[in-house]
Symmetry: C2
Subunit: 351 residues, 2 copies
């Protein structure tokens, strides 16, 4: 039978299960941290302009137009930028480049569940360092867990907590590591700080970014990575030659060049986030201070029934369970209207 032809560790694994993506319907979707606002009109214009006969040609393997736009935004050299088919593609490339079978990679827990899956595919092992109750990390304890590891993942801002470590805290961790440190900044567009500057100081720091959250382009699959040029060069050997399509490269560059649009949608999301975070403590526990476009509501035993009742009423949030912690709901910051409806339902459910 064909299944037995799979490598044993692939056969044994269960695979990553992404958040529910219901098609059609009128559900209020607050479960996978998509942006409630449309992408930049300039990005859509660039898409339509690229949707022509030129698609018969292969795209630029290195995505020069995107690298240049990233370089402009972050003040780095284009040689320090690698484009990816979503930041998941970049996390996959990094894992394949640094972590072999039986090797150990480290991430804090709870965090992005995909890290575990990527290590399973690679037949590698995960070592985890727990966040403190206030969602900070002890740099020394973390470094102890990471001793001998080949790679460290650090989602910052973190999911599901939404919390963020300061660049100084991340630098303290970087300084203690002798393996690559991937700072997964998928949500950094909603934070006040980021760690791009650390790449100058630490040759083993790698930043990953996404167009799925801040730029509202989850359907397009695009991300980028910033690292030392020699790291980018090595990672390029592992990526598929044409990993990013011509449309995504054009739209991504246009979106990056439209920072005023990002600032506008970001400001709206941050205002709604504040309103949501202020309202929830009247209905249950407080949420940790979020630097992302979602909040983490550690409801404990009430999490699952609340998730189910909300879903019955047409509102989808993400129920998340981590061993040794209270269950919780990760709630994406939608539009003001969507959050008003969520709060109205919660007031009925919780009181």
């Amino acid at each position: 039978m064909p299944r037995s032809l799979f490598l044993p560790h692939i056969e044994a694994m269960s695979g990553y299960v992404p958040g529910e993506q219901p098609r059609g319907g009128t559900l209020i979707k607050l479960n996978t941290n998509e942006n409630p606002y449309p992408p930049s009109p300039r990005a859509l214009t660039a898409l339509v302009a690229a949707a022509g006969e030129g698609l018969k040609r292969y795209p630029d393997p290195l995505g020069t137009v995107l690298r240049t736009a990233v370089a402009r935004k972050h003040g780095v050299d284009p040689s320090m930028v690698l484009a990816g088919n979503g930041s998941d593609d970049l996390l996959t490339i990094v894992t394949r480049a640094f972590v072999g079978p039986g090797d150990v990679a480290v991430y804090p827990e709870p965090s992005y569940i995909l890290y575990q899956t990527l290590l399973e595919i690679q037949n590698a092992r995960a070592a985890v360092a727990s966040f403190r109750d206030d969602w900070t990390l002890d740099a020394d304890a973390f470094a102890t867990v990471a001793r001998g590891a080949r790679l460290v993942f650090l989602a910052n801002p973190n999911s599901p907590s939404g919390t963020t470590l300061s660049p100084a805290q991340v630098a303290a961790i970087a300084a203690r590591l002798d393996c690559p440190l991937v700072v997964d900044e998928a949500y950094a567009d909603f934070a006040e700080t980021d760690c791009v500057a650390l790449v100058r100081e630490y040759p083993h720091v790698i930043i990953t970014r996404s167009f799925s959250k801040g730029y509202g382009l989850a359907g397009l699959r695009l991300g980028y990575l910033i690292a030392r040029a020699e790291v980018v060069e090595g990672l390029t050997k592992v990526k598929d030659s044409y990993n990013c399509d011509a449309l995504a490269l054009a739209a991504g560059a246009a979106a990056l060049d439209d920072q005023p649009y990002l600032a506008t949608t970001r400001a709206r999301i941050l205002a709604t986030r504040r309103r949501l975070a202020d309202a929830l403590p009247a209905l249950g526990p407080a949420v940790p201070a979020s630097a992302a476009n979602f909040v983490w509501w550690p409801l404990g035993a009430a999490a699952e029934p609340t998730y189910r009742t909300l879903k019955d009423r047409g509102i989808l949030v993400r129920l998340m369970r981590y061993p040794g912690r209270p269950d919780g709901l990760r709630i994406t910051v939608g539009t003001d209207d969507e959050i008003d409806q969520l709060l109205a339902e919660l007031r009925q459910i919780m009181t």
Copy 2:
């Protein structure tokens, strides 16, 4: 230094070098087997329709719209279809699912150079079985090389030769293998036969297809794979959750549903291919019978100077070198006009 943080086999490898992709200019590009005709207008309409606010949402992880269109075209169940970010993505997924470090995988030589690169990334070993001089394979000899292998790649039609094995010949190979056989049908849209029907008979046969050649959508990055449902299920664990973007899924489904357009452009390319293949023997060696959108011209010592002179004159073909064989030029079948210009230049160069 960061480079030493890479896995040793990644550090040691040199990486796949795709064909030249010059930007801009007026070069006649006959080097990477792109389609000279634009994609289906229905595909472009689908693209523009999808290029809107909906992109803020993640795409369907399984690409149901594309799977359904593939199922319709090939008369298979949608559960037998996996969508990929180009067929290279699918070749990568298959390699990671079946071939571990130190394992052996097999392909005939000369063939698609990427197979070697994929095995290098996986730290696996390649065993090669040479094509006979007439570009056929001895099924028994091939099976002997493949004994104990974890995976076999068979590009059919093959590159650089353009030649194809009949389904019966491929079946003879499949019957002798006890590992997965990937029949890479990137060029099958230009052939008279294909091996999709073998999937019913052989549970270890996997077919890969591309939208980059027949459908003229190289810039979009889309491919698909047909295999038994249980094979597709296992491979799904290895792919990135959202490996295909919403635009590509929509455009690919529309392109598949526009078979009359494919038939029209295909007929033009086949007519031009015949004209090119008929003209070349007056200028050098004959080309093997091509079932693809290119021909292989084994010029030997004349290959490199001819490549250079053509490039100087604004025509780009692919110079390819394989140990133990004469060097050759792989020439993409362009428009009639492009091939007329190529032949005019060649008449000046070669006579």
